[in-house]
């Protein structure tokens, strides 16, 4: 059987790590083929090999049965391979058309013929049901639309095989639904699709077949009609995966965090947290459910000392920490897994080892009288890397080189290891695969069972419902209701998050 794309026994090494080891991928004409694997399993490496960004050490690539040598992305383009990147590569100030023709401008006597280009773009957009306005500026259109521009870009360049790199990570549920329709339409029009993802739900919904990679090795290819999410997950992780979080009943103890009438303003002086009160006991996980932008960020920043509270009080283990310096609050027993791991969680250019002591570098045994004890730091890093299964070539590797899941594990290792009384986890599993999510959830529950208080902020209702012992719903900077996960459901939470009221008032 002839495949549109066949990658045979691909091997790609990086210093200290084998990213792809004997991986085979065979894509049939007109199918949506999923490429499934954990963060850092080697999916992106394999696709970068196909796209000509990396050269494999071993293996062969065939396009429509012909052996090819893809030396750079231009060759890939000429072969009809197009990539829709996860992080869009668009010029904000340019229009849709200008972005699409960039680097491939139709010329007319030395001038760019924008009108002709716009007409072409419109025609392609219509053909595939993309509904993109060729004259709109990128900065004015939604993320979902921007992604369609990326799709248009590959189609304009004549792509027959489209690679989607985790396309749903940045989309809203509605946009995901529309994207799935677009993918189906692309297949109807004779294209083939490779979908890189770690979301099993999407694979089950749209894909025909699925190839699984685990730790760089090709595990196998299965027909979606003959499999189920459990099987896929265990293929991906290499063991059985628990989708529901395993935990016993909570045993709340004394109060750890007390927030009273807290008001926090944003940079423009608008109160984002507005007279918020909340209390948290040791031995319980409280999940904060809410639509993004209802004061969650400001609330965390105020608790952790990164933003000044206008009024109100925050007490940690009975001690007033309102508007204390971040370090003082950290030392009072706070661990913080920040929402944005690149912005706050890590110094990406520091080694993994250096990042492991970001909160403790000035303390013994990591330093003495202002002199760093590097051997002690690296020793600690090594043991944390082992304990938390952070996959990195070594503790000297820059944090930047790690996959998202492993970066997150490094942060969690650092924060949980200090055994803080209060652990704040802001979107702790954003963008991670099921294996990593399971690991992180089990760590949060473990801390709870040790008697620590865990405050979790998440936009994923699944996560909120699965992990929390109590759910506090935040709306316009206030906690509008507190519910128990076993007494509520997604619909009710969704209503509360939008400012609605519960029918019957339950007890807390």
């Amino acid at each position: 059987m002839e495949y549109v794309i066949e990658m045979r026994n691909i091997r790609k090494e990086f210093p200290g790590i084998v990213a792809n080891d004997n991986v085979t991928l065979q894509v049939q004409q007109g199918e949506i083929h999923a490429l499934l694997g954990e963060n850092g399993a080697g999916k992106s490496t394999l696709m970068n090999v196909l796209f000509g960004l990396y050269q494999p050490e071993q293996g062969e690539i065939y396009v429509k049965g012909k052996k090819v040598n893809i030396t750079d992305p231009n060759v890939a383009n000429d072969l009809g391979i197009g990539m829709v990147h996860q992080h869009f590569m668009l010029v904000e100030k340019f229009t849709v058309t200008e972005n699409i023709i960039l680097g491939n401008e139709p010329r007319d006597k030395g001038r760019v013929n924008l009108k002709k280009a716009a007409k072409e773009v419109e025609a392609i957009s219509k053909q595939y049901g993309l509904k993109v306005d060729p004259y709109a500026k990128i900065e004015d259109i939604s993320v979902g639309m921007q992604q369609r521009v990326e799709i248009l870009k590959t189609l304009y360049r004549g792509a027959e095989i489209l690679i989607f790199d985790e396309p749903t990570a940045v989309l809203t549920p509605q946009e995901i639904h529309e994207l799935i329709q677009i993918m189906k339409r692309l297949i109807e029009e004779g294209k083939s699709i490779i979908l890189i993802t770690h979301k099993l739900k999407e694979i089950m919904e749209v894909c025909d077949r699925c190839t699984v990679i685990r730790r760089g090795k090709g595990i196998g290819t299965v027909d979606i009609s003959e499999t189920n999410p459990d099987e896929l997950a265990s293929m991906m992780v290499g063991r059985e995966v628990n989708f529901s979080v395993e935990k016993g009943p909570a045993h709340p103890k004394e109060e750890v965090l007390q927030i009273e009438n807290l008001v926090v303003e944003d940079a423009r002086g608008v109160p984002q947290v507005n007279d918020l009160s909340l209390s948290l006991k040791g031995g319980e996980i409280v999940g904060i459910a809410g639509v993004d932008g209802n004061g969650q960020t400001e609330l965390i920043e105020a608790i952790t000392g990164l933003r000044k509270a206008k009024s109100g009080m925050i007490k940690l283990s009975g001690k007033d920490i309102t508007n204390h310096k971040p370090r003082k609050i950290t030392e009072s027993g706070l661990g913080h897994i920040p929402q944005d791991r690149h912005k706050h969680g890590l110094v990406l250019d520091f080694s993994v080892g250096e990042n492991m002591v970001l909160q403790t570098y000035y303390q013994k045994p990591y330093s003495n009288k202002g002199v760093l004890k590097l051997p002690k730091i690296m020793e600690k890093a090594k043991s944390l890397i082992k304990e938390y299964d952070v996959r990195t070539p070594s503790e000297m590797t820059p944090a930047r080189a790690l996959s998202g899941g492993n970066q997150q594990k490094a942060i969690i290792a650092r924060e949980v290891d200090r055994s803080p009384n209060l652990l704040i986890a802001a979107q702790p599993t954003r963008g991670l695969d099921v294996g990593a999510i399971e690991f992180i959830h089990s760590k949060l529950v473990e801390e709870r069972d040790k008697g620590k208080a865990v405050l979790m902020i998440s936009f994923e209702l699944d996560e909120i419902l699965n992990v929390s012992d109590r759910i506090a719903v935040i709306y316009e900077g206030k906690i509008v209701d507190i519910v128990k996960p076993e007494e509520t459901n997604e619909q009710e939470l969704g209503l509360l998050m939008a400012g609605g009221k519960r029918e019957k008032v339950g007890d807390q």
Binding site: P15, L306, R327, G345, G370, S394
Partner: protein, 352 residues
């Protein structure tokens, strides 16, 4: 393995840039009707042929090391200190001022005291832009440039008003504060070589130790890479910005004392900047902001400048040509992206 590879490529880019710079210089010579082989032979002899030129070369690059360290140190914290020139001038004056006082003090106290005064003056000149940056987010490039002009004219005014001696300069400092050494002069055929090069080497070691072995260096580097994560980790970002400029300024001030206590033993009224501070930017860039890199880059620039004198007298090539070569080297380092791209491409080809 990865670390080794990075170190290797960190060394390759400056090396390739130097070779390309010299090649481009040769081409310019050919077009201008000079013999590049004769010129470069003369240049080489002008650095290594006898002890006198070697002594002069070391003297030349001593302050360059320190001004390079000053730029590199600030750069590690994410700051671009263009004010090294001004900090160097106030350091020079401070060292000469202390050198003129305390007659009869033992050199073991007088010299350190004069160097410390230079460091303090440079640090003071660094505090102002550091504070403005930390407190009011005023960009340090603007303020440090302005501080250069203030330094030049303030230093001149002080000399003119309080320290003037015949010849538009200060008196010569007391022997007890001088870094000049009869011994060093005698073994280098009476060059102006002085003990300052030891100070510069110590400076490089201090910078390396501060940045990589102390909690302060950890904080400075963290702030340089990511201010948000530093804040999250409880590091006082403002304090570290000011501190970085203070330490950078101190290095620059000590660079000035090399001229004040070593080469000249006095300070003249200056009609223009010395250029040592600005050359420090180039040295730091070529040295990839590392202590050892700065020492090597300063040695190269110092050597080229001294060797150029011989090149002019033997091969009649104007010394300005070496300035062009230096500029080209910097140009190639700055466009290291190109070199990296080229070598990656070669690597790829080799592997297929």
């Amino acid at each position: 393995m990865e670390v080794l590879k990075n170190k290797f490529s960190g060394f390759m880019i400056p090396l390739v840039s130097v070779i390309l710079g010299l090649l481009a210089g040769a081409i310019i010579m050919l077009f201008s009707g000079y013999d590049p082989i004769l010129a470069y032979t003369a240049l080489f002899n002008g650095i290594f042929s006898n002890t006198y030129v070697m002594g002069e070369t070391i003297r030349q690059f001593t302050p360059l090391i320190l001004s390079g360290l000053a730029v590199a140190f600030a750069f590690r914290t994410g700051l671009f200190n263009i004010g090294v020139e001004g900090q160097l001038l106030v350091g020079w004056l401070a060292s000469v001022y202390v050198g003129l006082q305390f007659d009869g003090l033992t050199p073991f106290l007088h010299i350190p005291l004069a160097i410390l005064a230079a460091a303090a003056a440079g640090a003071l000149w660094g505090v102002v832009p550091g504070f403005l940056k930390a407190k009011y987010h005023v960009h340090e490039v603007i303020t440090t440039i302005m501080m250069n002009y203030i330094a030049l004219h303030v230093v001149n005014a002080i000399i003119r008003s309080y320290l003037l001696a015949p010849g538009e300069r200060t008196e010569t400092i007391h022997q007890s504060a001088s870094l000049a050494s009869a011994y060093l002069q005698s073994i280098t055929d009476f060059s102006r070589l002085h003990y300052g090069f030891l100070v510069a080497i110590i400076g490089a070691i201090i910078m390396w130790f501060l940045l990589w072995k102390t909690t302060l260096g950890y904080e400075l580097r963290a702030v340089g890479f990511n201010t948000n994560a530093s804040q999250y980790a409880g590091i006082n970002v403002s304090r570290n910005i000011v501190l970085s400029m203070v330490i950078s300024g101190a290095f620059a001030g000590v660079a000035g004392s090399m001229e004040g206590l070593g080469t000249y033993g006095y300070m003249s009224i200056l009609s223009a900047f010395t250029g040592i501070g600005f050359d420090g930017i180039a040295v730091s860039l070529l040295g990839a902001n590392s202590a050892i890199g700065v020492v090597l880059a300063a040695a190269l620039f110092g050597g080229l400048k001294i060797g150029a004198l011989n090149m002019q007298s033997v091969a009649q090539v104007p010394t300005q040509l070496i300035e062009i070569v230096i500029a080209l080297i910097i140009f190639f380092v700055a466009s290291s992206y190109l070199i990296r791209w080229f070598s990656n491409r070669l690597n790829k080809r080799g592997k297929i």
